[in-house]
Symmetry: C2
Subunit: 155 residues, 2 copies
DNA sequence: CTGCCTGCAAACTCTTTGCACGAAT
DNA sequence: ATTCGTGCAAAGAGTTTGCAGGCAG
């Protein structure tokens, strides 16, 4: 999905929900889709302000749930206190797992289709209906620690 | 593992680490192991104070990491802002997944031995060495929502 | 023109920390 | 007698919210 297609999808989503298409929301969208890696609300605020200085922290926090609900953004909570976000460029709803490198603090997304099966199986045993699954692996990078170089490039 | 065996394990752990065996730490331990379900730091404080009114919030927060490190307690972060804890009565380090019921807010622990294999596989692809895994499923309980009764009893 | 959206700053929640006193070893 | 542990209250981080004015529809 191209960025302009995603942008259109965002506008349509807002309209269909009866929400207004404001310059601030568009700036936040553009800032989010310009990111190459996972970002925090604070980082997004910085980038959005570079596009439109009138964007406030409050609006960023109010817009993030909208973009998450529209599936344009993925929310990732790795238990560090702050939430991370990542543009969903493929537009799909495929299950993904996260691998968090404890040495470079980067987050890698890995397709994990079996997670859905697992959620169904386990939930059925309890008489529940699965809604979401999260699979996260935190790992160390020996190469980085020993050589000082991270062997992985920015995706 | 009986509760008194666990209590001894806690005392031994403290001693071996050069930490002191205080009444407050023991009260917090006893309060934790008296819980039937997952609990928060605040709930633990309440129960510990019932055993020893001198226990403070600060000491609870300072003791929780110690009990977690000693594997007597398991820390569970389901992304709600507050952390949950659960006594590890079996004493093992088996991988467990959590199923969180969005209707009764209860947390169920499910053995998930394949998680370790998965962490290894995924990490190896990235050249990383896995440290921890988290697998969580959030699910709805239709029975509870429709009848008002939760079909699962407290474990 | 109407009412949703905004920025600002204060409030909130959970957790951590500095300090002086108190208790375990 | 040491030194670590403690309670208290304040600080801290991240996020949410009340309000008065502003802009989209």
């Amino acid at each position: 999905m191209s960025i302009s297609a995603a942008r259109d999808k965002f506008r349509v989503f807002l309209s269909q929900k009866g929400l207004r298409v404001t310059n601030q929301r568009l700036a936040i969208f553009d800032a989010a889709f310009a990111q190459k890696e996972h970002f925090t609300a604070e980082q997004l605020l910085d980038h959005a302000r570079a596009l439109d200085p009138s964007v406030s922290r409050a609006t960023v926090y109010r817009t993030l749930p909208i973009m998450t609900e529209s599936a344009l953004l993925r929310e990732v909570d790795i238990g560090t206190g702050e939430k991370f976000y990542h543009p969903n460029r493929e537009g799909g709803t495929t299950q993904v797992a996260q691998v968090v490198c404890l040495d470079c603090d980067r987050i890698f997304e890995i397709s994990a289709p079996f997670m859905e099966w697992y959620g169904n199986t386990v939930s059925a045993k309890l008489g529940l209906r699965p809604v979401t699954q999260r699979l996260q692996v935190s790992a160390r990078c020996d190469t980085l620690r020993l050589t000082g170089n991270c062997p992985r490039r920015v995706s």
